[in-house]
Symmetry: C2
Subunit: 183 residues, 2 copies
């Protein structure tokens, strides 16, 4: 149900095409909401049907027409209502933790490799978030409220990734400890 509002929130900033939204979801919204392009296009269709957005077809040469989506009055209202109603926290579903829960079945070498890969991914994500913070949110005190809220969302991504990496250190320290007692 919330993808709808994630889209409206993205469009609340600026009119975008499905393609642009897809890009935004995997960059600036990476720590906020995840959606595949198929989901996005389908949901945009529904938003159009529900008249929460308007669509402008922008002809292009040698490419499919762009379909530029714009949030309208009803969309704004729906979004405003939604952001002001409480929602539970998202469900936790993490395969990595399932693996640890059955940790005695893990092959130490393969698992170390998986952890290395995970670390790489988290570091990359953290670097990206930090670069966004540097470029767009360098002096929070002077930013307009709108930006400061978005900065907080970004901060969560940054703190979260830092925290993930701290935890990974604990995990790898533990695994090394096991090696020593075995060998």
């Amino acid at each position: 149900m919330s993808l709808k509002f994630a889209l409206l929130a993205a469009l609340h900033e600026e009119p975008l095409t499905g393609y642009d939204l897809n890009h935004k979801f995997r960059t600036r919204l990476a720590n906020v909401w995840n959606a595949s392009h198929q989901q996005i296009y389908r949901e945009l269709g529904k938003l159009d049907e529900e008249k929460l957005v308007s669509v402008e077809d922008v002809p292009q040469k040698g490419r499919p027409d762009k379909r530029l989506y714009r949030i309208n009055k009803s969309g704004q209202e729906a979004l405003a209502t939604w952001v002001n109603t409480p929602h539970g926290r998202p469900p936790v579903r993490d395969p990595l933790l399932v693996k640890l829960f059955a940790g005695d079945l893990l092959d130490p070498e393969r698992f170390s490799q998986e952890l290395a890969e995970i670390r790489r991914g988290w570091l990359e994500q953290l670097d990206y978030f930090r670069s966004v913070e540097r470029e767009h949110f360098s002096n929070p005190a002077e930013m307009p409220p709108h930006f400061r809220f978005q900065h907080l969302a970004l901060r969560r991504g940054i703190l979260g990734m830092e925290n993930n990496l701290t935890w990974l250190d604990e995990v790898e320290a533990m695994l090394e400890g096991l090696d020593c007692t075995d060998g």
Copy 2:
């Protein structure tokens, strides 16, 4: 696809009923995997069909029979294979961050209340995780590997909640800052 393996991982510890599994999912597995009882019962049926578990019907007086699920050899193998294959990280989908992204639409008072409620929930969860750590994982160095892996999964929950609360402080500090400039 992973609920299946979350169930197998839970059954890998000990034989359980659907009811027990449901309980386990919202306590010890709270930071690992989320599932409703409907999903659990359905998936247990499938695991039975696939012959990855065996079922023992335990008659009871005045209550429906217990159905006790036990992981079998095939189940163990399937689980071992799964834990040793890499998986991407879980998708991020957080309505709270969507709200911040459209933060200019937030009603300050309602949002403060929602944050207070969220803080309460996170604190409660953190307390629970800490109590588990105190009771079951008090001296990590002397635990058998099996327990130490599970401790790491728990640590993620603890660090994650602490991190959430740190972030919440940032959020509330920011909101108070806005109040001051307004008033």
